[in-house]
Symmetry: C2
Subunit: 207 residues, 2 copies
Protein backbone atom coordinates (compact mmCIF):
# COMPACT_ATOMS: atom_id res chain seq x y z
CA UNK A 1 0.00 0.00 0.00
CA UNK A 2 3.02 2.33 -0.29
CA UNK A 3 2.26 5.64 -1.97
CA UNK A 4 -1.44 5.18 -1.32
CA UNK A 5 -3.52 7.68 0.56
CA UNK A 6 -4.20 5.53 3.60
CA UNK A 7 -5.82 6.53 6.82
CA UNK A 8 -4.01 3.75 8.60
CA UNK A 9 -0.74 5.23 7.47
CA UNK A 10 -1.43 8.46 9.33
CA UNK A 11 -0.84 6.95 12.76
CA UNK A 12 2.59 8.26 13.80
CA UNK A 13 5.26 5.64 14.52
CA UNK A 14 5.44 6.81 18.11
CA UNK A 15 1.88 5.64 18.65
CA UNK A 16 2.57 2.11 17.42
CA UNK A 17 4.03 -0.80 19.31
CA UNK A 18 3.17 0.44 22.78
CA UNK A 19 2.55 -1.84 25.67
CA UNK A 20 -0.45 -4.14 25.40
CA UNK A 21 -2.64 -2.25 27.87
CA UNK A 22 -2.51 0.93 25.79
CA UNK A 23 -3.21 -0.85 22.51
CA UNK A 24 -6.18 -2.43 24.21
CA UNK A 25 -7.47 1.03 25.12
CA UNK A 26 -7.20 2.17 21.53
CA UNK A 27 -9.19 -0.87 20.35
CA UNK A 28 -11.75 -0.36 23.13
CA UNK A 29 -12.22 3.24 21.98
CA UNK A 30 -12.62 2.20 18.34
CA UNK A 31 -15.13 -0.51 19.22
CA UNK A 32 -17.13 1.94 21.35
CA UNK A 33 -17.03 4.52 18.55
CA UNK A 34 -18.32 1.94 16.03
CA UNK A 35 -21.25 1.10 18.29
CA UNK A 36 -22.19 4.73 19.00
CA UNK A 37 -21.71 6.06 15.45
CA UNK A 38 -23.77 3.16 14.08
CA UNK A 39 -26.58 3.82 16.54
CA UNK A 40 -26.60 7.61 16.82
CA UNK A 41 -24.74 8.83 13.75
CA UNK A 42 -21.84 11.28 13.56
CA UNK A 43 -23.66 14.32 14.94
CA UNK A 44 -25.35 12.32 17.71
CA UNK A 45 -22.06 11.02 19.10
CA UNK A 46 -19.53 12.98 21.17
CA UNK A 47 -15.95 12.04 22.03
CA UNK A 48 -16.95 12.22 25.70
CA UNK A 49 -19.67 9.59 25.10
CA UNK A 50 -17.18 7.41 23.25
CA UNK A 51 -14.78 7.59 26.21
CA UNK A 52 -17.55 6.70 28.64
CA UNK A 53 -18.76 3.80 26.47
CA UNK A 54 -15.17 2.53 26.22
CA UNK A 55 -14.59 2.96 29.95
CA UNK A 56 -11.49 5.15 29.45
CA UNK A 57 -10.47 8.69 30.33
CA UNK A 58 -11.52 11.23 27.64
CA UNK A 59 -7.88 12.39 27.45
CA UNK A 60 -6.98 8.96 26.09
CA UNK A 61 -9.35 9.44 23.14
CA UNK A 62 -7.53 12.67 22.26
CA UNK A 63 -4.21 10.92 22.75
CA UNK A 64 -4.99 8.25 20.15
CA UNK A 65 -7.12 10.20 17.66
CA UNK A 66 -6.78 13.66 16.13
CA UNK A 67 -10.49 14.33 16.56
CA UNK A 68 -14.00 13.07 15.85
CA UNK A 69 -13.41 13.10 12.07
CA UNK A 70 -10.41 10.79 12.31
CA UNK A 71 -12.09 8.55 14.87
CA UNK A 72 -15.14 8.27 12.62
CA UNK A 73 -13.10 7.52 9.49
CA UNK A 74 -11.07 4.87 11.33
CA UNK A 75 -14.14 3.32 12.91
CA UNK A 76 -15.64 2.88 9.43
CA UNK A 77 -12.45 1.04 8.39
CA UNK A 78 -12.24 3.07 5.20
CA UNK A 79 -9.30 1.80 3.13
CA UNK A 80 -8.45 5.29 1.84
CA UNK A 81 -8.86 8.92 2.83
CA UNK A 82 -11.42 10.72 0.61
CA UNK A 83 -9.68 14.05 1.28
CA UNK A 84 -6.49 12.75 -0.31
CA UNK A 85 -8.18 10.81 -3.12
CA UNK A 86 -10.17 13.89 -4.13
CA UNK A 87 -7.49 16.50 -3.36
CA UNK A 88 -7.85 19.52 -5.63
CA UNK A 89 -11.17 18.64 -7.33
CA UNK A 90 -12.86 21.67 -5.78
CA UNK A 91 -10.66 23.99 -7.86
CA UNK A 92 -11.68 22.44 -11.21
CA UNK A 93 -14.47 23.57 -13.52
CA UNK A 94 -17.38 21.10 -13.90
CA UNK A 95 -16.03 19.45 -17.07
CA UNK A 96 -12.53 18.88 -15.65
CA UNK A 97 -14.01 18.01 -12.29
CA UNK A 98 -16.20 15.24 -13.76
CA UNK A 99 -13.16 13.70 -15.48
CA UNK A 100 -11.01 14.00 -12.37
CA UNK A 101 -13.67 12.33 -10.21
CA UNK A 102 -13.70 9.28 -12.50
CA UNK A 103 -9.89 9.31 -12.76
CA UNK A 104 -9.51 9.51 -8.97
CA UNK A 105 -11.92 6.59 -8.49
CA UNK A 106 -10.06 4.50 -11.06
CA UNK A 107 -6.59 5.41 -9.70
CA UNK A 108 -7.69 4.27 -6.27
CA UNK A 109 -9.41 1.07 -7.39
CA UNK A 110 -6.63 0.07 -9.82
CA UNK A 111 -4.13 0.34 -6.94
CA UNK A 112 -3.12 -2.42 -4.49
CA UNK A 113 -5.95 -1.11 -2.29
CA UNK A 114 -8.46 -2.80 -4.61
CA UNK A 115 -8.89 -5.88 -2.45
CA UNK A 116 -9.45 -3.82 0.68
CA UNK A 117 -11.94 -1.65 -1.18
CA UNK A 118 -13.92 -4.62 -2.49
CA UNK A 119 -13.98 -6.09 1.02
CA UNK A 120 -15.00 -2.72 2.43
CA UNK A 121 -17.84 -2.28 -0.05
CA UNK A 122 -19.08 -5.87 0.42
CA UNK A 123 -18.96 -5.56 4.20
CA UNK A 124 -20.53 -2.12 4.32
CA UNK A 125 -23.45 -2.80 1.99
CA UNK A 126 -23.99 -6.18 3.65
CA UNK A 127 -24.56 -4.56 7.05
CA UNK A 128 -27.34 -2.15 7.98
CA UNK A 129 -25.35 -0.43 10.76
CA UNK A 130 -22.34 0.02 8.47
CA UNK A 131 -24.51 1.40 5.68
CA UNK A 132 -25.73 4.13 8.01
CA UNK A 133 -22.11 5.05 8.75
CA UNK A 134 -21.27 5.03 5.05
CA UNK A 135 -24.12 7.47 4.43
CA UNK A 136 -22.70 9.92 6.97
CA UNK A 137 -19.20 9.53 5.64
CA UNK A 138 -20.12 9.95 1.97
CA UNK A 139 -22.25 13.00 2.68
CA UNK A 140 -19.75 14.69 4.98
CA UNK A 141 -16.42 13.98 3.36
CA UNK A 142 -17.03 13.05 -0.28
CA UNK A 143 -20.07 14.92 -1.59
CA UNK A 144 -19.32 18.25 0.06
CA UNK A 145 -15.88 18.16 -1.56
CA UNK A 146 -17.19 17.14 -4.97
CA UNK A 147 -19.83 19.88 -5.02
CA UNK A 148 -17.73 22.66 -3.42
CA UNK A 149 -17.96 25.99 -5.21
CA UNK A 150 -20.49 24.88 -7.83
CA UNK A 151 -23.53 27.12 -8.42
CA UNK A 152 -27.03 26.35 -7.12
CA UNK A 153 -28.91 26.39 -3.83
CA UNK A 154 -27.66 24.09 -1.05
CA UNK A 155 -30.67 21.80 -1.73
CA UNK A 156 -29.87 21.60 -5.45
CA UNK A 157 -26.19 20.92 -4.76
CA UNK A 158 -27.12 18.18 -2.30
CA UNK A 159 -29.38 16.53 -4.89
CA UNK A 160 -26.71 16.81 -7.60
CA UNK A 161 -24.16 15.32 -5.21
CA UNK A 162 -26.50 12.37 -4.58
CA UNK A 163 -26.84 11.83 -8.33
CA UNK A 164 -23.06 11.86 -8.79
CA UNK A 165 -22.92 9.27 -6.01
CA UNK A 166 -25.36 6.99 -7.88
CA UNK A 167 -23.05 6.98 -10.91
CA UNK A 168 -19.79 6.61 -8.99
CA UNK A 169 -21.03 3.91 -6.61
CA UNK A 170 -22.61 2.04 -9.53
CA UNK A 171 -19.36 2.22 -11.49
CA UNK A 172 -17.32 0.85 -8.56
CA UNK A 173 -19.79 -1.94 -7.98
CA UNK A 174 -20.28 -3.03 -11.60
CA UNK A 175 -16.64 -2.76 -12.66
CA UNK A 176 -14.86 -4.04 -9.54
CA UNK A 177 -17.32 -6.09 -7.49
CA UNK A 178 -19.87 -7.62 -9.89
CA UNK A 179 -17.30 -7.37 -12.72
CA UNK A 180 -19.60 -7.15 -15.71
CA UNK A 181 -17.77 -7.54 -19.00
CA UNK A 182 -16.65 -5.77 -21.13
CA UNK A 183 -16.67 -2.83 -18.68
CA UNK A 184 -14.56 -4.64 -16.06
CA UNK A 185 -11.71 -4.98 -18.59
CA UNK A 186 -12.03 -1.60 -20.31
CA UNK A 187 -8.98 0.70 -20.18
CA UNK A 188 -9.20 3.46 -17.54
CA UNK A 189 -9.01 6.22 -20.19
CA UNK A 190 -11.96 4.67 -22.00
CA UNK A 191 -13.97 4.48 -18.78
CA UNK A 192 -13.30 8.19 -18.18
CA UNK A 193 -14.44 9.03 -21.72
CA UNK A 194 -17.60 6.93 -21.31
CA UNK A 195 -18.70 7.98 -17.82
CA UNK A 196 -17.43 11.56 -17.24
CA UNK A 197 -20.05 13.28 -19.46
CA UNK A 198 -22.85 11.77 -17.36
CA UNK A 199 -21.21 13.00 -14.17
CA UNK A 200 -20.73 16.44 -15.73
CA UNK A 201 -24.50 16.63 -16.36
CA UNK A 202 -25.18 15.81 -12.70
CA UNK A 203 -22.56 18.31 -11.48
CA UNK A 204 -23.62 21.41 -13.33
CA UNK A 205 -25.80 20.98 -16.43
CA UNK A 206 -29.57 21.65 -16.55
CA UNK A 207 -31.43 18.65 -15.10
CA UNK B 1 -46.85 -9.27 -2.39
CA UNK B 2 -50.10 -9.61 -4.39
CA UNK B 3 -49.95 -8.12 -7.86
CA UNK B 4 -46.17 -8.20 -7.84
CA UNK B 5 -44.15 -9.92 -10.50
CA UNK B 6 -42.82 -12.68 -8.27
CA UNK B 7 -40.96 -15.78 -9.29
CA UNK B 8 -42.18 -17.52 -6.18
CA UNK B 9 -45.74 -16.89 -7.29
CA UNK B 10 -45.19 -18.85 -10.51
CA UNK B 11 -45.13 -22.23 -8.79
CA UNK B 12 -48.52 -23.79 -9.63
CA UNK B 13 -50.76 -24.63 -6.69
CA UNK B 14 -50.65 -28.30 -7.62
CA UNK B 15 -46.93 -28.32 -6.82
CA UNK B 16 -47.37 -26.94 -3.33
CA UNK B 17 -48.31 -28.75 -0.15
CA UNK B 18 -47.15 -32.18 -1.25
CA UNK B 19 -45.88 -34.75 1.15
CA UNK B 20 -42.70 -33.88 3.07
CA UNK B 21 -40.44 -36.20 1.10
CA UNK B 22 -41.16 -34.41 -2.16
CA UNK B 23 -40.70 -30.92 -0.69
CA UNK B 24 -37.39 -32.13 0.65
CA UNK B 25 -36.34 -33.17 -2.86
CA UNK B 26 -37.20 -29.72 -4.21
CA UNK B 27 -35.09 -28.08 -1.50
CA UNK B 28 -32.25 -30.55 -2.11
CA UNK B 29 -32.30 -29.66 -5.81
CA UNK B 30 -32.29 -25.92 -5.08
CA UNK B 31 -29.41 -26.27 -2.61
CA UNK B 32 -27.41 -28.34 -5.13
CA UNK B 33 -28.15 -25.78 -7.86
CA UNK B 34 -26.93 -22.93 -5.64
CA UNK B 35 -23.65 -24.73 -4.98
CA UNK B 36 -23.03 -25.62 -8.64
CA UNK B 37 -24.10 -22.29 -10.15
CA UNK B 38 -21.95 -20.43 -7.61
CA UNK B 39 -18.92 -22.58 -8.42
CA UNK B 40 -19.27 -23.19 -12.17
CA UNK B 41 -21.65 -20.46 -13.37
CA UNK B 42 -24.77 -20.85 -15.48
CA UNK B 43 -23.12 -22.25 -18.61
CA UNK B 44 -20.90 -24.61 -16.62
CA UNK B 45 -23.81 -26.27 -14.84
CA UNK B 46 -26.23 -28.82 -16.35
CA UNK B 47 -29.55 -30.02 -14.96
CA UNK B 48 -28.11 -33.54 -14.98
CA UNK B 49 -25.23 -32.40 -12.73
CA UNK B 50 -27.68 -30.69 -10.41
CA UNK B 51 -29.70 -33.91 -10.12
CA UNK B 52 -26.55 -35.93 -9.39
CA UNK B 53 -25.33 -33.38 -6.79
CA UNK B 54 -28.77 -33.44 -5.14
CA UNK B 55 -28.92 -37.24 -5.26
CA UNK B 56 -32.26 -37.30 -7.07
CA UNK B 57 -33.53 -38.61 -10.40
CA UNK B 58 -33.10 -36.05 -13.24
CA UNK B 59 -36.83 -36.39 -13.99
CA UNK B 60 -37.54 -34.85 -10.59
CA UNK B 61 -35.63 -31.69 -11.55
CA UNK B 62 -37.89 -31.32 -14.59
CA UNK B 63 -40.92 -32.05 -12.44
CA UNK B 64 -40.20 -29.17 -10.08
CA UNK B 65 -38.63 -26.60 -12.41
CA UNK B 66 -39.54 -25.41 -15.92
CA UNK B 67 -35.91 -25.47 -16.97
CA UNK B 68 -32.42 -24.22 -16.18
CA UNK B 69 -33.49 -20.57 -16.42
CA UNK B 70 -36.17 -20.97 -13.76
CA UNK B 71 -33.92 -23.09 -11.54
CA UNK B 72 -31.18 -20.47 -11.79
CA UNK B 73 -33.52 -17.56 -11.04
CA UNK B 74 -34.99 -19.40 -8.04
CA UNK B 75 -31.60 -20.45 -6.75
CA UNK B 76 -30.52 -16.79 -6.75
CA UNK B 77 -33.57 -15.98 -4.57
CA UNK B 78 -34.42 -13.03 -6.79
CA UNK B 79 -37.44 -11.22 -5.28
CA UNK B 80 -38.89 -10.40 -8.72
CA UNK B 81 -38.79 -11.69 -12.28
CA UNK B 82 -36.79 -9.33 -14.57
CA UNK B 83 -38.82 -10.53 -17.58
CA UNK B 84 -42.02 -9.24 -15.98
CA UNK B 85 -40.50 -6.07 -14.51
CA UNK B 86 -39.06 -5.09 -17.90
CA UNK B 87 -41.90 -6.45 -20.07
CA UNK B 88 -42.24 -4.42 -23.26
CA UNK B 89 -39.09 -2.26 -22.98
CA UNK B 90 -37.59 -3.85 -26.09
CA UNK B 91 -40.32 -2.29 -28.24
CA UNK B 92 -39.60 1.29 -27.09
CA UNK B 93 -37.30 3.80 -28.77
CA UNK B 94 -34.20 4.77 -26.74
CA UNK B 95 -35.74 7.90 -25.19
CA UNK B 96 -38.92 6.11 -24.05
CA UNK B 97 -36.90 3.05 -23.10
CA UNK B 98 -34.60 5.05 -20.80
CA UNK B 99 -37.62 6.52 -19.00
CA UNK B 100 -39.37 3.14 -18.76
CA UNK B 101 -36.25 1.49 -17.30
CA UNK B 102 -36.16 4.06 -14.48
CA UNK B 103 -39.95 3.84 -14.00
CA UNK B 104 -39.82 0.03 -13.87
CA UNK B 105 -37.02 0.12 -11.27
CA UNK B 106 -38.94 2.64 -9.15
CA UNK B 107 -42.29 0.76 -9.46
CA UNK B 108 -40.59 -2.37 -8.24
CA UNK B 109 -38.66 -0.75 -5.40
CA UNK B 110 -41.59 1.41 -4.21
CA UNK B 111 -43.70 -1.78 -3.93
CA UNK B 112 -44.04 -4.08 -0.90
CA UNK B 113 -41.10 -6.02 -2.39
CA UNK B 114 -38.74 -3.26 -1.23
CA UNK B 115 -37.66 -5.04 1.94
CA UNK B 116 -36.93 -8.27 0.07
CA UNK B 117 -35.00 -6.31 -2.56
CA UNK B 118 -32.87 -4.50 0.00
CA UNK B 119 -32.15 -7.82 1.72
CA UNK B 120 -31.37 -9.42 -1.63
CA UNK B 121 -28.96 -6.65 -2.64
CA UNK B 122 -27.25 -6.62 0.78
CA UNK B 123 -26.91 -10.40 0.78
CA UNK B 124 -25.77 -10.64 -2.82
CA UNK B 125 -23.13 -7.92 -2.72
CA UNK B 126 -21.97 -9.16 0.67
CA UNK B 127 -21.13 -12.61 -0.73
CA UNK B 128 -18.56 -13.41 -3.42
CA UNK B 129 -20.36 -16.56 -4.65
CA UNK B 130 -23.68 -14.74 -4.85
CA UNK B 131 -22.10 -11.82 -6.72
CA UNK B 132 -20.93 -14.26 -9.41
CA UNK B 133 -24.48 -15.52 -9.77
CA UNK B 134 -25.82 -11.97 -9.92
CA UNK B 135 -23.39 -11.24 -12.76
CA UNK B 136 -24.76 -14.14 -14.80
CA UNK B 137 -28.32 -13.22 -14.06
CA UNK B 138 -27.96 -9.52 -14.88
CA UNK B 139 -26.13 -10.25 -18.12
CA UNK B 140 -28.47 -12.99 -19.27
CA UNK B 141 -31.89 -11.74 -18.25
CA UNK B 142 -31.67 -7.99 -17.69
CA UNK B 143 -29.10 -6.49 -20.03
CA UNK B 144 -30.03 -8.52 -23.11
CA UNK B 145 -33.61 -7.35 -22.70
CA UNK B 146 -32.66 -3.71 -22.11
CA UNK B 147 -30.42 -3.59 -25.20
CA UNK B 148 -32.61 -5.70 -27.53
CA UNK B 149 -33.04 -4.19 -30.99
CA UNK B 150 -30.77 -1.18 -30.43
CA UNK B 151 -28.13 -0.45 -33.09
CA UNK B 152 -24.43 -1.22 -32.72
CA UNK B 153 -22.16 -4.25 -32.73
CA UNK B 154 -22.71 -6.95 -30.07
CA UNK B 155 -19.56 -5.67 -28.28
CA UNK B 156 -20.83 -2.09 -28.27
CA UNK B 157 -24.26 -3.15 -27.06
CA UNK B 158 -22.68 -5.21 -24.27
CA UNK B 159 -20.60 -2.21 -23.15
CA UNK B 160 -23.62 0.11 -23.27
CA UNK B 161 -25.62 -2.44 -21.26
CA UNK B 162 -22.87 -2.48 -18.62
CA UNK B 163 -22.98 1.32 -18.44
CA UNK B 164 -26.78 1.29 -18.00
CA UNK B 165 -26.20 -1.22 -15.20
CA UNK B 166 -23.78 1.16 -13.42
CA UNK B 167 -26.45 3.86 -13.34
CA UNK B 168 -29.36 1.59 -12.39
CA UNK B 169 -27.49 -0.35 -9.69
CA UNK B 170 -26.09 2.92 -8.30
CA UNK B 171 -29.58 4.43 -8.19
CA UNK B 172 -31.02 1.41 -6.33
CA UNK B 173 -28.17 1.43 -3.88
CA UNK B 174 -28.03 5.16 -3.14
CA UNK B 175 -31.81 5.72 -3.00
CA UNK B 176 -32.96 2.54 -1.26
CA UNK B 177 -30.02 1.01 0.60
CA UNK B 178 -27.64 3.84 1.58
CA UNK B 179 -30.60 6.30 1.46
CA UNK B 180 -28.75 9.51 0.70
CA UNK B 181 -30.94 12.58 1.07
CA UNK B 182 -32.55 14.39 -0.70
CA UNK B 183 -32.56 11.68 -3.41
CA UNK B 184 -34.07 9.01 -1.14
CA UNK B 185 -37.17 11.18 -0.60
CA UNK B 186 -37.50 12.61 -4.13
CA UNK B 187 -40.77 11.88 -5.98
CA UNK B 188 -40.53 9.04 -8.52
CA UNK B 189 -41.42 11.36 -11.43
CA UNK B 190 -38.57 13.67 -10.44
CA UNK B 191 -36.13 10.76 -10.27
CA UNK B 192 -37.18 9.71 -13.79
CA UNK B 193 -36.63 13.27 -15.06
CA UNK B 194 -33.21 13.47 -13.37
CA UNK B 195 -31.80 10.06 -14.29
CA UNK B 196 -33.40 8.98 -17.59
CA UNK B 197 -31.34 11.32 -19.84
CA UNK B 198 -28.12 9.75 -18.54
CA UNK B 199 -29.46 6.27 -19.29
CA UNK B 200 -30.56 7.43 -22.75
CA UNK B 201 -26.98 8.50 -23.48
CA UNK B 202 -25.69 5.06 -22.49
CA UNK B 203 -28.41 3.27 -24.49
CA UNK B 204 -28.01 4.96 -27.84
CA UNK B 205 -26.23 8.33 -27.97
CA UNK B 206 -22.64 8.84 -29.16
CA UNK B 207 -20.24 7.92 -26.34
Amino acid sequence: MSGLPSLHGTVPASRRGRRVGTNDSRELILAAARRLFAEHGFDGTSLRQVAREAGVDPALVHHFFKGKDELFALSVDLPADPAEVLAGVESLDPGQRAEEIVRAVLRLWESPAQHSLVAFLRGTIGSKAKTAMLRELVTRTVLQRIMAGLPGTPEERALRGNLVATQVVGLMLVRYVVRLEPLASAAPDEVVRLVAPNIRRYLAEPL
